[in-house]
Amino acid sequence: MLGRTPFMTFLTYAVLIAGVALVALPVWVTFVASTQTLDQVLATPMSLLPGDRLLANYAEVLSAGAGNTTAPVARMLFNSLVMALAIALGKIAISLLSAFALVYFRFRLRQTAFWLVFVTLMLPVEVRIMPTYQVMADLGLIDTYAGLTLPLIASATATFLFRQFFMTVPDELAEAAKIDGAGPMRFFWHVLLPLSSTSIAALFVIQFVYGWNQYLWPLLVTTQESMYPVVIGIKRMIAGGDAATEWPLVMATAMLAMLPPVAVVVLAQKWFIKGLVESDK
């Protein structure tokens, strides 16, 4: 085989270790800062070894919040969790059904419906914030979980993915179900759903991370601190300028905010990669 020379092996390790160091540096520094006292963080240069305030800092942010925000981080984590789960599950449910309709039913304007759905792929929430905000305000959904999640659920990525998948399911299965006397919904529940379980799992991982990490939309649609997701909470904590920022507490919050999506991605790595590669291609 190629490149089994000691030099190539050395180069491989060197590049990979450098890459991992680059990727891990911010996370490590954050972790270290979250375990120190404010004075230790403010010392230049700060030490790169963890301090002894690990439990104290985390307990403080979880129950009391930090800096300019008074809402406890535990509450924000809960908001994030609700948002991430609602977006992931809502999106999967809606797109399974609409893909099912698009593939298995013939109705007028089917092609038009497909294109209407398809075009939405190209326009993420960020480019249509202002108008979307107006719509949600008109509907009175500011500061509600519905307002947080609905506009993010309405997108076509997943519909497209399931449509592609359903088209690979052989027609014989649908015919066999029909002969056995199963109605369309029964076919959907007992044949299509089990077949697409791995796609659903993969999509769930991607959408959970997506929902958890939303920033712009929650920033606009939430006005009360008790409705902030944790990502917004962090930004609010440091808004007051350098001197007033309690960095160890902010960093502890950052660690807490990173933990759930990172855990999901690392633990479900196989599905994650599958979901990523398939949902975008």
């Binding site: 190539m8 990979l16 911010p26 954050t30 249509r128 990502v231 990172v262 690392v266 994650f272």
Partner: protein, 268 residues
């Protein structure tokens, strides 16, 4: 409904001038657009976006291709390296912005301290170029995992026999990479190119907001950021809506280009 209604509203609003309290509006036709393209700040924002996207895309793709190439080699610990490299994907963009802002913080950031020791006076709060570097670094960091996963998948789909054939023909590692692997990866690369440009255009909003807030003096105010700033902070709703429309058009063009080329992309 949550999609077309807003899009229609954007078009609708972009032809009006509305006062900040929504009390009155006046039909002005394409006036908002004409004003927009005559506005030096808006054209500047275009330039900033271009610089930012090119930097993020080029650096991000090059780095992650190198990492994927080496992670694809059969070595001990490869799985560990791969796992660590996909972590940034799960980190929220806003948090990535905060982390890098902390590292580069002029008074207490550790990287700023190292740079200071090397004789570079780092202060991205004052220096627009440095602020740009900061957001590019944060954006690239965030996007590496994504590119990495795709390049790795692309590399693994290249038949081993081709690489062995190149080795038998006497090609070294670099030659093999340049003449065999890289051309075979071109569909992946092209796909990632488009995705990364879109990413730099749209999804970096949170990074920029958290790291620099568009400043100093609008040095990192990309187009998406300006839509938000003018609409929600400046309350110039007509102009913001017109900017939304421009962005939507740019994205449609990019996606169209992508689909044209994906259809007749290089096959092997």
């Amino acid at each position: 409904m949550f999609f077309y209604w807003p899009a229609a509203e954007a078009l609708f609003q972009s032809v009006f001038i509305q006062d900040p309290f929504g009390a009155s509006r006046e039909f002005v036709g394409l006036e908002n657009f004409r004003e927009l393209f005559g506005d030096p700040l808006y054209l500047d924002s275009f330039r900033i976006t271009a610089v930012f996207s090119v930097a993020v895309t080029a650096i991000g793709l090059a780095l992650s291709l190198a990492l994927a190439y080496f992670a694809d080699r059969a070595i001990r610990g490869a799985l560990l390296f791969r796992t660590l490299l996909i972590v940034p994907y799960a980190v929220a963009p806003a948090i990535a912005g905060v982390l890098w802002m902390f590292l580069f913080n002029p008074t207490l950031g550790i990287v700023a301290h190292w740079l200071g020791a090397m004789g570079v006076a780092w202060n991205h709060v004052l220096d627009g170029t440095q602020a740009m570097i900061l957001v590019v670094v944060a954006a690239v960091w965030k996007q590496i995992s994504y590119n990495f996963v795709f390049f790795l998948a692309g590399l693994q789909s290249i038949p081993k026999s081709l690489i062995e054939a190149a080795a038998i023909d006497g090609a070294g590692a670099w030659r093999t990479f340049r003449s065999v692997i890289f051309p075979l990866l071109s569909p992946t690369t092209f796909f990632l190119l488009v995705i990364n440009v879109v990413y730099a255009f749209i999804e970096t909003f949170a990074i920029i907001d958290a790291a620099t807030g568009g400043g100093p003096a609008k040095a990192t105010e990309v187009l998406v950021y300006k839509v938000y700033n003018d609409g929600f902070k400046g309350l110039d709703i007509g102009s913001s809506a017109a900017q939304s429309v421009v962005l939507i058009v740019i994205l449609l063009v990019l996606t169209f280009v992508q689909f044209r080329y994906v259809e007749r992309r290089v096959r092997y």
